[in-house]
């Protein structure tokens, strides 16, 4: 790895500006995913591109020190890699549990439902805006959130393990 070639000011500035937008777009895709194009998978991939950009421009250690996580130990799954691996496992747990909850309620595995909220004060304020009427709470979001965590955790584990070698 060469240390004499620093990223340019342009690259660093663009990264600072672009990363929040990428994360925001990812969140938007995640939230609309239950009935519009988007969803946990694509949102997760997009989030990973933001992380990858930070890694490439600011170096592998920057994110770790920013988040205040201990340095990677000798094991494969120490430090921040361990965190990503746990995120992966938790995501899988969330997605699978989301499916089982419907069984506990007497429906088949993975059955989803949508709750429409239309008489909340916040929503009343929004009804003046065209196109925004009721608030949809989809249970599929829980599954999407699990998928999101699996994708982010899985891809970032790969990035950080391969990046370290």
């Amino acid at each position: 790895m060469t240390t004499d070639r620093q990223p340019t000011v342009i690259a660093r500035t663009v990264t600072r500006v672009v990363v929040p937008f990428i994360l925001l777009t990812a969140l938007a895709l995640l939230f609309q995913g239950h009935n519009l194009p988007g969803g946990g998978f694509i949102a997760g991939v997009l989030t990973c591109t933001a992380f990858a950009l930070v890694y490439i421009i600011y170096g592998r250690e920057s994110l770790r020190t920013l988040l205040g996580i201990a340095a990677d130990g000798p094991g494969v799954l120490g430090g921040i890699t361990g965190l990503y691996a746990r995120l992966f496992a938790v995501g899988l747990l969330v997605a699978a549990t989301g499916g089982v909850v419907s069984m506990a309620l007497g429906y088949p595995f993975l059955t989803q439902a949508v709750l429409y909220l239309s008489d909340l004060p916040v929503v009343h304020a929004l009804t003046a805006v065209p196109g925004v009427g009721t608030l949809e709470l989809a249970s599929a979001f829980v599954f999407d959130l699990g998928v999101y965590a699996v994708v982010v955790g899985g891809l970032l584990s790969v990035l950080s393990v391969v990046g370290r070698e």
Partner: protein, 521 residues
Amino acid sequence: MDPTHVAVVPLLVPLFAAVATLLLRPYPTLQRGASAIGGVGYLVAVAALVRAVTADADGYLVYALAGWDAPVGIVLVADALSAFMLTIAAIVGVAALLYSLAYVDAEDQRLSYHSLFHFVLLGVTGAFLTGDLFNLFVWFEVMLMASYVLVVFYSGPEHTRAALHYTVLNLLGGALMLLSIGGLYATTGTLNMADMAHRLANAAEYGIDPAPVLGLSALLFAVFALKAGIVPFQFWVPDSYRAAPVPVTAVLAGVVKKVGIYAIIRVYFTVLSGAALDVSLPFVAGDSVLAYFGPVLLVMAAGSIILGGIGAVNQPDLDGLLAYSSIGQVGFIALSLAVAASAPFGSEVMLVGIAAALVYSLNHGLAKGALFLSVGVIRRGVGSVEFADLGGLSERDPVFAGGFFVGALALIGIPPLSGFFGKFLVFDTAVRAEAWLALGLALVGAVLTIAYFSRAWNRAFWGEPVAFDPQPRLTLVVVVLGVGLLLVGIGFQPIADAAQRASEAAVSRSDYIDAVLEVGR
């Protein structure tokens, strides 16, 4: 809980066991406990499903995932055939899992072994239960993804090389599978297996031309044969089986191969057999897509039996011998399926042929499981599985030698072990069909089996004893599987009944269609 959930529980148990073993990484003892509980829970879940299928009046449990009915949604269909295959998976899988607890290094277990193992079980279970062709592809991939990592598990040069071959081949297979499933979807307009069977049986009504189905199903057939390791798609078998940890090899040979066999039975006998197509080729007579695959299977079975047998006789090490042996043994399964496929649909010969394939699969799963697990005992006890370094093990550890001996005799087919009935049914099928070529092949295969196991026994268990460090915990699993082989042979009647019900389920196309599509009507 609603009793209909019994069909999905065998999927949920390995899924949650995999998640739990991932989350419990910081606590290795708890993690191993969770994995063992998951394994035993899987056995219980499968037993409950088998009971429910047997008790069901029609013998079909249909479970619409997420409440979306067939043919639009993905359904799980548990019938006697799925139940039979799941039983094999559960017994071999749990034995191998408990064996791993004592065999695999503690750090390796902590990192990824247990979750990967449960993911393989998850993929296998899904493949046995799904009623949707595309979903079958997905479960194949789940099973393969985890098995790629398990083959490269020790990460040495030879493991990496084997895993590279295994991965590239199976990725190629996956691409072909997707292509052919896409083609079948374009041709028939459905992915649900029951709906596809229904449409193909009434092709004119739905405006389907059955001709493309033949080519597409031939492509699909190559993929299933690759999974089952039938000649000419056998070349990945020896290296991968040598590279993977021993309990994983037991599962690859005992269970994962059987997924290919199951897929052939389910897709060709249940689904595609209804596609009427005049067959006018030399040596081929019949009126359905299935009839084409009879001669194809026969040639592939012949290749497997001969290549596997001769390859096994020549191996310098025990795991290589067993790997080639499993190519040969799968040849026997393919042979009975070949005779069955050539017989008139629903005839006695076809039923006996499928039952023979199933009983043989059960026997091969248990026996090859026991034998591959014996390889682990020898590798630990002696430090090598090369025949040059072995000898006199029967003197050093008679109990372990007994376990190996029973496994070998079961594969040779000595009564009263389960292997006798497997072999007997294969011969019975050939005689009933008056397929003398198949009978001759089975005889050649039987002689080769005796030859290579005699050689293994002579070189490893007789002769000048070598230093051997007994492995009581590992030996226990081998002996338990050996006793299982004996029990299956002694109490064979229930197994025979189950195999017969399974083979009837495999050819009861209209019952299958009714059971699945009834939900949607």
